[in-house]
């Protein structure tokens, strides 16, 4: 069956007709044409499809498009400014080697965004917990955790750690 839904997509109001059996991932990639959000496993295991719905990180592969009605959706395309300036989290990933092949990056960055919106001073443990549902086959995670640490207020209060980031690896807080 199809239905009309209304939602806010990366800050813009949208009205559209959708099919009941569409996942949110299908809506985003195939219908809206925004391909930043990736499909890895399709079953909630890898986090490549992570988006933010009403402030919460969710797996769009296991979320029905019909459920986005009346809600606010943010994908990776919603992070950079319209003029192309990267979001501080995106910049941090670039600068800290948090990206290698890049397949996991949209999901990782979105998970980090949801975490820092809720808890701007997240510590290392909280960061690791927030990305526990995001798999990366390239980086070994250290650089990803470092990237997120570098933009969390928790880290900003301890600037000495930032300076030698790449050597600091698993440094506990």
């Amino acid at each position: 069956m199809s239905r009309e839904i209304a939602f806010v997509f990366n800050g813009n109001k949208m009205n559209m007709a959708i099919e009941d059996h569409w996942t949110l991932l299908h809506l985003i990639r195939e219908e809206l044409g925004y391909t930043g959000t990736k499909e890895g496993c399709g079953s909630g295991e890898c986090g490549a499809c992570t988006v933010i719905v009403d402030g919460n990180a969710v797996n769009s592969c296991l979320y029905l498009a019909a459920e986005i009605d009346g809600k606010e959706l943010m994908t990776i395309e919603g992070l950079a400014s319209p003029d192309g300036t990267l979001h501080p989290i995106q910049k941090a990933f670039v600068e800290n080697g948090g990206i290698q092949c890049g397949f996991c990056s949209p999901g990782m960055i979105i998970s980090a965004k949801a975490l820092l919106d809720e808890n701007p001073n997240a510590n290392e443990e909280e960061i690791k917990e927030a990305i526990a549902g995001n798999l990366c086959r390239c980086t070994g995670y250290v650089q990803i955790v470092d990237s997120i640490k570098s933009v969390s207020g928790h880290e900003a209060q301890e600037p000495h750690v930032v300076a030698f980031r790449s050597e600091e690896g698993d440094r506990g807080d």
Binding site: D20, H21, H26, G42, S43, G44, A57, N59, L62, Y63
Partner: protein, 300 residues
């Protein structure tokens, strides 16, 4: 994904009457983290999905101040439980369990009701709630009924729900004073894994803060359904709680479990782990009971 019609009733009665109209062709869905995976895998093929997410109900755990009962609505997400100050302060066994379910993304949508109705032996939500003597409230065409959550689980993937019935909430009776509790899921990795074992321990102490007034010990993945280790509990009541008595109880619990050799681990190892983890969770429960008593939060 295979086509289906998505229905969003606003009341329990509406949901049940939709179910009655479509019967076998319909399936309830809450968070969908189990149902949608099964549809994608071809293990389920409903023509109608009846959503329970829009039924108007409490969206976080709450305490009935008159009776001291904790109400956990079935449609509450794991994340809502995890972030509840009430649960964190007084029901740490429940916090321990939901905190490690799947990932943040999963916990933001998956519900406690879906976890219980799934009735897999490893359901993390089940162990703490049966340790807490939870009762399941169920609503159906014939009205409302209530069963001990422990009896709700009939076998792997099987629970005590008649066709079309809906689990509406779990009610936890008033805690005794000086109670502490803890849960651990044991696996190779904390997040995103099928656990090898789940162990929950609850201890209520006498005023001397060392004699056991009441004990609850529950095991997940140790039998076809979540179980209470009743002999082990009995062993503790009236005794001084310490590492030794807990280790004795742990050994008894290991014997009560029905672990088998499986992909998750061999039986003797899992039995040993029951003993180790019952002791460890018992010590944690003891410490939490003492800490609560100190700051005057004895779960009255």
């Amino acid at each position: 994904m295979r086509k289906f019609t998505y229905l969003v009733p606003k009341t329990l009665d509406e949901a049940i009457s939709l179910y009655q109209s479509y019967g076998e062709r319909a399936k309830y869905i809450a968070g969908g983290t189990d149902v949608l995976v099964k549809i994608k895998e071809g293990k389920l093929a409903p023509d109608y999905l009846i959503s329970l997410k829009h039924i108007i109900s409490q969206d976080r755990p709450f305490l009935n101040h008159e009776t001291g009962e904790l109400y956990v609505g079935a449609f509450v997400t794991h994340r809502m439980i995890e972030t509840s100050p009430l649960v964190q302060a007084h029901y740490p066994i429940l916090y321990d369990a939901v905190k490690n379910i799947g990932s943040v993304q999963i916990r933001n949508v998956a519900t406690i009701g879906g976890n219980l109705v799934n009735a897999v032996p490893s359901a993390d939500g089940a162990i703490p709630l049966i340790t807490l003597d939870g009762k399941a409230n169920i609503y159906g065409a014939k009205g409302q009924r209530s069963v001990d959550l422990l009896r709700f689980f009939l076998g792997p993937g099987q629970c005590d729900l008649e066709r079309g019935e809906i689990l509406t909430e779990v009610v936890v009776p008033r805690l005794l004073p000086r109670t502490g509790s803890a849960y651990i899921k044991h696996g190779r990795r904390e997040a995103m894994e099928l656990p090898m074992l789940g162990v929950g321990v609850l201890l209520s102490l006498e005023a001397d803060m060392e004699t056991c007034a009441k004990a609850g010990i529950s095991l997940g993945v140790a039998a076809p359904t979540p179980i209470r280790a009743l002999q082990a509990e009995k062993h503790l009541v009236g005794k001084t709680i310490n590492e030794e008595t807990l280790a004795e109880a742990g050994k008894i619990a290991g014997e009560e479990s029905k672990v088998r050799d499986s992909i998750r681990g061999v039986a003797w190892y899992r039995r040993e782990m029951v003993a180790v983890l019952v002791t460890r969770m018992g010590m944690k429960a003891l410490e939490r009971a003492s800490r609560n008593a100190e700051v005057g939060m004895g779960n009255k």
